[in-house]
Every structure is written in C-alpha cells, then in structure tokens.
Homo-oligomer: 441 residues x 2
C-alpha cells in the first residue's frame, strides 16, 4: 500500500487509502425453520485525495493494486472538476493508539453450522415452552472486520475484530388472537450467545400479550426498554451531539456545554472501550485515536463530537468520531458505542412500583423524529399495560412530544443493561419516565 | 456449473444453482458537488437443494467452484436438520423463453467519468436556472447484471442486461424560507439520461414551493404524481396480488377475480416487456419464463401472481413471478415491471381543470400501510395547493383511508408516464382522485 500512497502523492497534496475486509457468516430463521445459511465476504477500498483544497473520492469493491491505482486516477479527475473547499485544512496526522482489545479468534473462523445448531436449539426450546408460539423470524451470525487506514502524513493503522449475534422474533396465537411480532437479541464479542435467556424473555412477553388491554389518553408513568429507548434517542437526540450541527447551528445543544439540560439520572458516554462494546476500535475511520467521550454526565451536557474535517473548521481537535459511510465512502461524525449509564433498581422492581402505567418494548416511527428540535411522534408497540405493579396485557399507544422534555422526567433507571446492536451499538438500561402524555388507541 | 449440479444431485433429490454478477458504476452528489465516484462489483451464488421435502439454502459471495461445492454441503447439512415441508412439490421444469431484449452495451463498459460529466452539467444548469437553489443531493450511475439459473430438471438460462439512472434533489432558499427537498429522476435502458428535463421539472417545483400555503381539513380533488402513487400502491395494494396471500387468506382480493373492484380508469399489468421496463427479464429467478400478467383491466381484477412453490401448492402454474431476496437467497412472489396504464389528458390540463385541490409529489410513511386490508395513513409532502387551475404554493397534509376506496374515486389519468425506479420498477402516470378526505396541517 505504501507505493500506492507514493503514487497518489504525485497527483494530490494529501491522500488517504482505507481498506475494509468483511466476513459474515450466519443463518436466517423463518417460521420455525432455518431458512438460509450464508457466508458473505466483501472487500472495499476508499481513496480520498485533496489537490488545492479540491476533494476527490473513489470507492471500489477490491483491494487489487491496479484497481486501487485506477481509483486514485478517478478520484483525481473528480477533484479537478470540483470547486475549492476553502474550509479544508488537512487530513489527520499520526496519533497515539491504545493497545488493541482482545477478541475471541473463533469469531474469525466460525462456520454457519455453529449458528444452525444454535437456531435448532432456540426453536426447540421455544416450542417446548409454549406450543402456541411461532418462531416467525430470527437469525444468528458472526462478523469479522479487518481494516487498514493509511495516509500521506504517516497515519498507518490496521485493526481487526468481530462480534456475534443471535435474535428471535416470536408471534403467539391463541384462539383468534395473534400477538404482534416480539423480538429479542443477544450480541457480544464472543460466541457464548445466550439463547436460553432470549427464549425466556420472549416467552414471557408473548404470554403477557395473549391478553389485549385498552390504553387511555392520559399522563402516565412509562418504562421504556432498551430497544425502544435506543431507537428513540438515536433519531431524536444523538445527532444533536454532532459538532457539524453546532457549526451549522442546527442543534438544540448549542451554547449548552456545562449546563444541566437533562434529569440528573441521565449519563451518556460514547465509549468504544466499554466491556460490552461490539466495536472496540482504537482508531476511527480516518485513523484518529478513539477515546471515551463524555456526552451527558448526571444531566449536564459535556461537549460535542468531532471528526477531523469539522474539528479543523471549528478550530478544535477530532474526538475520534469520524465514521465512514460504506455506500458513499464519505466521512461524517458518528458514534462508536453509546453507553447509557445504568441505575440501581431492577426492571422487575420498576414495574412492581407502578400503580398504573405502561412498559414499552418497541417504538415504531422513531426515524421520523426531528433532531434539530427534538420533536418526535412514535407508536409504542409492543407495549404493555401495568396495573398495581403487574403486567395486565399488551396494548398500543401514541407518544409524541419533545425528547428534551421527556428526558427531564426520568425518575428511575434499571440496573440491567442490554446491548442493542442496531443503529450502531447502544448499551442501554430501561428508563422510567413520569408524566408522559400518551394517546390511547 | 453442470458438474456442480451433478455433485448436488448425489446429495439432494433436486438442486438449483443461481449466480448473479453485478457491476455498478456511479457517482453521488452532495451540496452542489460530486462527492464520490464508485465502481462496485459483486458476485453472489445461491444454492437451493431439496432432500425428502426438506429444504436447504446457502448463499455465498463467490462463483468459485470449490466454494460453491462447500455451499452445496452447507445446504445439505441444513436440509437434514429441517422439518419436512409436506407442501413441497418440485423445482420448475424447463420452459420456452422469449427472445432476449436488446440493451445498449455501453451500459456494461461505461466509466464513472460519464456520470461525473453529467453531474457537473446538471449542477451548472441548476444554478444558472435559480441562484437560490442548492443541489442538496443526487447521483447517477449504471448497473449491469449477468445471471445464470440452473437446476437438476434441465433449466439453464443465462441473461444479461442493465440500466442507467440520474437523479437530483433540490432545496430552495429565499429569505427565511427553506423548501423541503424535492427529487426527480430519469431511468432508462441506455445512457441518454435527460438531465435538462430533470432540472426543468425541479426548478418549477421549487419555484412553486417558495410560497407556503395552508391546507384545510376537507374533501377535495387530489392529483397524485408518479412517485407518490407508486410508493402508496407498492405498500398498500400490490402485495394483495400475491397468490401466497390468497392461500393464506390475507388479501382483500380473494374471491374477487373477474369482479369490478376499482374504477374503470384503473388498469395495471406486470409487464417486463414494456418498452420502458428497466428489467426486461425473459425468466424469473427460478428460471420460469416471464410474461405480461394482467392484474387490473378497466377496474376488473384479473388474477393473482405466482412463484413456483405457491403455484404448486394451489395447483396452478407459476406466472413467472419468483423473485429472489438478495440477502437471504429465498424466493417469494414479486413483480418485475408494474405498468399503470396512462390516460388522455396532460398533467397540465388536469391541474388547469381544478378549481380547488391539491397536487402531491411525494408521500411519507407509505411503508406503514396495511396491504391485508388496504388501510394507509401518509403525509403528503412535497404537495401543492391548486386554486383556479393554478399552483398557489407548497403545502403539507395528512391523507388516511383505504386504498380500495381511494381507487374507486379516480376521475382522470394523465397521458404522461414516468419510470419510478424504486420499490422494483413502476411505470406510472399521475392520477386524479375526487372526494379525498385530507387533514390540513
């Protein structure tokens, strides 16, 4: 790769080459059966070059040297045609990286057979548990990624790592009643996936859902479980941490650093080094060393996240949050492993303490939230009615409001945390809110 | 490949091997600049084998013979573990194919330079047209696909073909007003993409959007343009044509063959041979010959679509609508090129004829429609208010109802048709509806 950097330097003032090798093995589950066994392999190379503040970017599905050379030529043609970006400063300089984390190397070699067996066991356990169940969907697999980031300033960092996941989606049928599909997932940096626990959780939730209860239009206590919480915050809140949005004045958090914006029960980090993190990267996609970034500590907003470009524009340092878009190759500000701090009570205790309220497993429509002001409108489904400290049955309701208001009304946080491997990775507890306005259905 | 079929026959009663080679070249546009040049190449092989009515399926990113052999072994292991599918009959037998369609072979060789030039021209034209415009997004490219479907009953069909597309997304800014992002696209089986026309259309729409008008809660005439119509029908209506849903009794069209279900102005075919079709395949993904299937003719429902499996279950013939899911490798019933028949009047005339009503460019939330009953709830945006035959400005409103009711209220169809290359391909006119209940915002 060195000689390709040298080749690129003849054309560009600065050049970066990034190579990603992905291996995915896994299986899909449909209607109580394993439906597909898959081994997917993909290599992508991205060339980013800058000439006279003009940017050229090329992406190819190969790491063949001749093809990378052609991609450099393509990027150069593009750079010549583009306008100057007067805001451009420089690609990152080399930094000091932490020691690479440990991975279970079995993740790299595991075959899909392993997940076929896991799936069979999961399906058997499920049907033993409740004969009215259908394992409507699911899947399991392992991913292994090797990456190499090089640039003409001397950045040269290679990393490898992986993770495994297993999930099931249950539908229950009793007489004429069909429950909504209810999901649970386990994801970790080794192969010890806890199928039993998934089945246990889901069987309980489906059992609850065999009874359907009405929801009212009211202000009530609502416990939001990890998936639902992660999806809502991912769309309504997390984009507001972006330094780009600070510069563009499209974040409600502008001028709020050091201020108590949220309830003191809320603490959020972006921490790739958390023990549950699925991507414990020591460098971001531009080769900048990663670190644990405090975002919210006891309700106080601590600061923004930066990639190299926007940090340079603002006159600060990258926080190691340059994330590459795998379809366009472009870099933007993103998060590695969001960690929402847990609390003291068990989810069971939180439920037991509620006289009248709701438990939310999933939100639909979170993606339509507006992070520029925090407004959201979602449908809570699957959701459950709580009466006198007990789940009474499943229900559905609308919840609309503003995430900044909502996050002032936290009154408890569960001690259990779950790894939510969608929308990047979020490590999240359940969170209990009071005075939540809901519209029954 | 023949010897791999022979190898598979030693393990399975029947076996199918499908190979897809994809080449994509193209560029992305962001904020008045070309942001990425991309050349993506991918090969996928899917093995489907059946032993004692037990199905095994394996998918790999390769066409290497040794790897395909390993995939056959994987599929076999899976088949042994799975339960018998008593409904399983057989893989398809060979059929008689039409003559392959003609393609512009330039699609196969074109480099991303071509689209860089197109993009530069598009951006220049746009900014000349209206200096308040931002070309916020866009892209262009060409795709070339080579496929080979083989099975142990003698099916052996190879096809190749491709298409090109170009799209732009405009945002207009005037004083404090920022318009919503407005898209237009051209897609065809050759490289003669009409950039001028896209810019012309979009500039007009942005101009209309510089004025914002209130929408009322009322019953009104609404003209729905091709993208909006395609997205709504794709989610709320088209799944109802599936033979699988007939068998499972989850389509409102069960027992309706030959009945006048819709307004007589509605005619819909699935026609891969239509001159504007982007995928004029002569065989589906199981190697069954494709054909023009009538779905609705002058409002009368004509019949269901079938893949090989569900046709066998129902005791009928596949209509050539077996479509492979590129992520799981599984086959399900889908459409190739939906053609909604055009009418007699120009869109301009349709607008001129409305005293008070609306024009809808896009729907948000169409994916949450329920095809089992046709219920939908969408937000019309971008949308425009029409008064006295003229566009008065942009507006936003909610539209919720039932697609079967809506499609009774067609009163005119435009003569212009557009190729909508999302959600498969839909070739669609604009459609004018009366007595549409809308909720203003």
């Amino acid at each position: 790769m060195e000689e390709l950097i040298r080749y690129g330097e003849k054309l560009f003032d600065e050049i970066e080459i990034a190579v990603y090798r992905n291996r995915d093995v896994g299986i899909h589950i449909e209607l109580n059966e394993v439906s597909t066994s898959a081994v997917r392999q993909r290599t992508v190379t991205i060339v980013r070059g800058i000439k006279d503040k003009r940017l050229g970017l090329a992406i190819i599905d190969s790491e063949d040297k001749d093809e990378i050379r052609r991609a450099i030529d393509e990027a150069y043609k593009m750079a010549k045609l583009n306008n100057k970006d007067e805001k451009w400063k420089t690609l990152p300089k080399p930094g000091k990286y932490k020691k690479p984390p440990k991975f279970d190397k079995a993740l790299k070699e595991v075959s899909s057979d392993y997940f076929v067996e896991l799936a069979k066991r999961g399906i058997e356990l499920s049907l033993e548990k409740d004969k009215n169940l259908i394992v409507a969907g699911g899947g399991g697999g392992a991913e292994w990624i090797e990456s190499l980031i090089l640039n003409s300033h001397g950045v040269e960092i290679s990393q490898e790592g992986g993770g495994a996941y297993f999930y099931l989606g249950f539908i229950g049928r009793k007489e004429s009643l069909v429950t909504p599909m209810i999901f649970d997932v386990d994801a970790r940096r080794n192969l010890n996936l806890d199928v039993e626990n998934i089945v246990e959780n889901l069987a309980q939730k489906v059992k609850w859902a065999y009874k359907v209860e009405k929801s009212r239009t009211e202000e009530a206590k609502v416990i939001v479980e990890p998936y639902a919480l992660a999806s809502l915050l991912h769309f309504a809140l997390f984009p507001a941490f972006s330094g780009e949005k600070l510069i563009k004045q499209t974040t409600p958090l502008a001028n709020k650093v050091g201020e108590q914006v949220f309830n003191e029960l809320l603490t959020i980090y972006d921490d790739p080094f958390h023990e549950l993190s699925l991507k414990p990267v020591i460098a971001d996609d531009e080769g900048v060393p990663t670190r644990k970034n405090a975002l919210i500590e006891n309700g106080t907003f601590k600061g923004f996240l930066w990639d190299n470009y926007w940090a340079n524009v603002y006159g600060t340092e990258s926080t190691g949050n340059g994330i590459r878009n795998s379809s366009t190759g472009g870099i933007s500000i993103g998060m590695h492993s969001v960690v929402i701090k847990n609390g003291k009570e068990s989810l069971e205790e939180l439920i037991a303490d509620i006289e009248h309220g709701y438990l939310v497993n999933g939100f639909q429509g979170a993606h339509s939230s507006n992070p520029d002001n925090g407004n959201f409108a979602v449908v809570a489904n699957p959701a459950y009615l709580i009466e006198n400290g007990e789940i009474k049955g499943s229900t559905v309701f609308m919840m609309s409001g503003n995430v900044y208001e909502l996050l002032k009304n936290i009154y408890a946080v569960s001690k259990e945390q779950k790894v939510v491997p969608f929308y990047g990775t979020t490590i999240s507890p359940s969170m209990a809110f009071e005075n939540v306005r809901i519209a029954g259905k």
